[in-house]
Symmetry: C2
Subunit: 347 residues, 2 copies
């Protein structure tokens, strides 16, 4: 399905705020992308009251016209587990959103629902790309040189060396190209830089990656993620999940303390007044909502997972991320690269 028109299926109920956030976010992105259509999958009695309140000033007709609804009969809970999603997911807003991609009616799907449910239903309805064993969640974090794309963030708790290699290839393909010259630098996260460091799995993956025609730069350590030593950093989902969440927690705490410091007495308040404009960029750069939208790579279609607590702006970022992935046809690129590698190096 190659076309300039992009159709995106949105799970209207995923996330903590449901249609109150998903609909305004959808309209925001529709107002920017004139070639975008959004299929809002949800329960009409929840969707309609929100839609009816939206005035033509808030969303012009040309935006509303590109927003269609697909009736769901229920919504999964935000903490839905895989078994529950598979057993009771049929007809839910998430199921329908994924089904639009599986049936070729949409180019991409976005949900702020339970990661486990998106993963289970994504694999069931879309299936894996040939040569990829497991999907991986990827997210962008700010770094000294721009951004680092980190995967896997929790789709797989533990992985084989071969799966780490697949993640590295997928990350290399899916890595956004903004500002990058040449092939993205791909690295494996480890407890040291030397070949002797790490367990058997990372060592084996390291040896395999050296043989592949991607820009593999070797092992990196935790601090290298933010130092910008790699464009793509690969690890198992257990470690990746802890790294990304602890980083969000740390950044949140630091900024809260800086805010407190800026309000400690009139002297500090005066300083904050002068400084705020200059600090704005820094604060925005580290704001987690700006990096919302983690693609689930390896499926036969674009699926982007949003933070459950995403607000309108943050969900907008996730939707735009999905649009970019759909435009770039990331799943097709991954399939093609895996295919080339099977022939070239017998992967």
């Amino acid at each position: 399905m190659v076309t300039d028109r992009i159709v995106l299926a949105l799970d209207a109920h995923g996330g903590d705020f449901g249609p109150q956030v998903t609909i305004p976010a959808a309209l925001d992105v529709l107002s920017i992308h004139s070639n975008l259509e959004i299929l809002l999958c949800g329960i009409s009695e929840d969707i309609l009251p929100v839609l009816n309140k939206i005035t033509s000033e808030q969303a012009p007709k040309h935006c509303i016209d590109r927003l269609a609804t697909i009736e769901a009969n229920h919504a999964l809970t935000p903490d839905a587990r895989p078994v529950a999603a598979l057993r009771r997911g049929k007809g839910s807003s998430l199921w329908l959103a994924l089904e639009q991609v599986a049936n070729g009616r949409a180019h991409a799907c976005v949900s702020a629902g339970s990661t486990a449910a998106i993963l289970a239903l994504g694999v069931k309805l879309l299936g894996m790309l040939p040569g990829i064993e497991r999907p991986a969640l990827m997210s962008r974090v700010p770094s000294a040189s721009g951004h680092t794309n980190l995967l896997d963030l929790g789709a797989n708790l533990h992985v084989s060396a071969y799966q780490l290699v697949q993640f590295a290839i997928m990350g290399s393909v899916a890595c956004p190209l903004d500002g990058l010259s040449g092939a993205p630098k791909v690295a494996l996260l480890n407890v040291g830089h030397e070949d002797s460091k790490g367990d058997a799995v990372v060592k084996e993956a390291h040896a395999m990656l050296k043989e592949l025609p991607i820009n593999y730069t070797g092992f990196i350590e935790g601090h290298d993620i933010f130092a910008g030593k790699a464009d793509v950093a690969v690890c198992d989902g257990f470690s990746g999940n802890l790294i990304i969440k602890s980083g969000e927690g740390l950044a949140t705490m630091i900024f809260r303390h800086i805010n407190m410091a800026m309000n400690r007495g009139w002297f500090a308040k005066a300083g904050a007044f002068f400084l705020r404009k200059s600090l704005q960029d820094t604060l925005e750069r580290f704001e987690p909502s700006k990096h919302n939208g983690a693609p689930l790579l390896g499926l036969r279609g674009v699926v982007v997972k949003s933070h459950g607590n995403a607000d309108r702006e943050a969900l907008g970022h996730a939707i735009r991320e999905a649009v970019v992935e759909a435009e770039r046809q990331v799943p097709q690129l991954i399939e093609s690269m895996i295919n080339d590698f099977s022939i070239e190096v017998g992967l």
Copy 2:
């Protein structure tokens, strides 16, 4: 060895700067702790030039008098691997420092040398406490409620459920008591809070910890570390190493950006001038050197590992950490708790 006098063995050559940093740091701590003696283990031709340059103003006689030297015949390299340390470590500054503890001549040992070498020689020369299978590195990170003690930070790449339980017990005992009322809250790091989350190892450890008479509060996620939901957070060394190093990298990058923002134009500089004093506390709170000094728990003696790139002040923190551990007799406390638990719950 119960005494008010504390003797500490210091590896004069560990770390990137050797005696240039270890000797001034030792004298700094001697000037604060009047009941402390330090055995400086190193090569005299490197130590003496530094000692000879120190004037009586920089270090009064009562400090110098409590600094003795023990002659080493060589120093291990900063990246010494375990095999090399075991084969060629005998007579090195690290070996001698650990030996002082093993022989009962010192209460504690501090080294900024290679973690792998400290670990290998620590196990060889001191041995493990009965009932503890593997040593674990613990470090303190700032949190919303004070500090969280994180272990293991890389002494073990992967662990069994039983070893995670041992780490939890050791962390609970070794957790510094400053400001804590009641038993420290101990938690297991996982990808979710629910009992169903995580792999077989964390689930089994979770079940075992619930039965133990420590203040076990269950699973926590990455962001909970800095939110202060636990006093002690336990995980395998691979994840722990990535969490602590990525956190250091992130904090470093955020503060570098804030510094840049403070120097962007005279308006920002004026703001920074007013604000600097108030921000100082915040910056210091997150300064990694303030948290330098990671105890290696589980050995028959106090061993504290310093960052290799520690400066005089940072190494001073590690030495003071070792003094506190020796005063509290942490290894004896761990041994006693493990012993009680074996009788009580058949651990």
